[in-house]
Amino acid sequence: MENNGDVQMTAENDDQEEEEVTAQSVLLAIEEAWLNEKFAPEILPHRSDLVDCMLQQITHMEENMKRLDKEDLRLMIHRMELDRIKYVITNYLRARLEKIEKYTIHILSQEATRSSEECYLTVAELQFAKEFLTNIEMLFKTIALQHMPGNFQTFEVDTLTVKPNLQTYVFLRANDRINGIIIPGSMDEEIDLEPGSQHIIQYSAVADLVKSGAVKLI
């Protein structure tokens, strides 16, 4: 994407400050978001800012490529690059969909407690989750629940909730220096993380750090 380095885009960072970013840095950011999503047991706050930006970039690149001669070697290289980016985005979004499908009820009930600024799902994901739940309920009702006696007909949301296992162990690399992570299960044993250092630790201890970007899962 070297020749697209001159394409400047804007994205908002956490401080709501407008910051100039290059396509390359968005790609790096989305790769990190992808790996985090892939390895975290729970669903993470969405990064539709990155996805939208990247998809825009893809359309742009495809337009540019149309202007190139079919025999041009650059075309091959661009195609290849494009396929790789598409793979990352696809895999990232699929990982999220899989979690939504598996933990539907749990995710929806958590999402209901969040304001629109701090929600984890995009509008389309939320819609998808709701439809998925409705469809399962419909399936259960048609085949079984409506034929069950009395109060056993209910679709018991609490019983049917599947929750992610936050006690899963994850590999991580620290982006910043972090002090005083309390090891779960210990009395109050603490560890500090040096920037760039790698660790294996229970996810629940670092969930907030993953979301804030202080560490990345690997």
């Binding site: 979004l93 994901e125 009395g150």
Partner: protein
């Protein structure tokens, strides 16, 4: 003992987990019906007992009511788990084979499952359309990390005409070889219409069998 039929349902699922879980619909429907019947009779007995407890204050009946209640819950769990796990298999098929199911699978589904599949398709399509700016973004291609742009494929089934992204049309006939863009081939290979031919770049020594026992021993002697 209560719950046997429900257990049978689940064992059925477990048994066929690597092959195809979709058994002949009517047999399963019969099994589900039997579980539902057991639930009904448990429920009726509990209603009768509960009335007796309320009216005659016959508390001695309570433990039996509790036992039946546990059995009712178990049966419900077995049925719902059965439906749920089939649904998950069905979902996998959507991603593997696309929105149209092969007839061999379709015939093994009951009506409600077909309905579910269609609704799932619709939701997924709606979601994918929402991505990107205009025409959406397809999540069912690019499923494996790309390494090459073109792949050499052998056509193993007559397929007919295939239009490529650049408008070129090629004819896929059985036993013909083609060099095609990877993204075009991916779904067709998964469906078994094309076969990926790969070059064997170098021989890799196989470390199987013969080293097994030695390695086991050496690891054990360490501790």
């Amino acid at each position: 003992m209560y719950g046997r039929k429900g257990f049978k349902l689940i064992s059925e699922l477990d048994l066929y987990s690597d092959i195809l879980p979709f058994n002949v619909g009517c047999m399963i429907e019969a099994l589900i019906k039997e579980v539902l019947q057991e639930m009904q009779s448990l429920y009726d007995a509990n209603v009768a007992n509960s009335n007796a407890i309320r009216n005659d204050n016959n508390m001695a009946l309570l433990p039996s009511v509790q036992l039946r209640h546990i059995a009712l819950k178990r049966n419900k769990r077995c049925i719902l788990a059965y439906i749920y796990n089939r649904m998950r298999k069905l979902k996998e098929l959507r991603w593997e084979l696309g929105s149209i199911l092969p007839p061999e699978i379709n015939t093994n589904l009951i009506n409600a499952e077909v309905q579910w599949f269609q609704s799932y398709n619709k939701s997924l399509a709606k979601y994918m359309r929402s991505l990107g700016e205009d025409h959406g973004f397809n999540l069912t291609t690019n499923m494996v990390p790309p390494k090459t742009l073109y792949v050499e494929v052998k056509c193993v089934e007559d397929f007919g005409k295939l239009e490529l992204d650049d408008g070129q049309v090629i004819l896929l006939k059985k036993n013909t070889y083609h060099l095609l863009p990877r993204s075009v081939c991916e779904p067709l290979i998964r469906q078994g219409i094309l076969e990926h031919k790969k070059y064997v770049s170098m021989e890799f020594p196989s470390y199987e069998q013969e080293t097994q026992t030695i390695q086991l021993r050496s690891i054990k002697s360490d501790d």
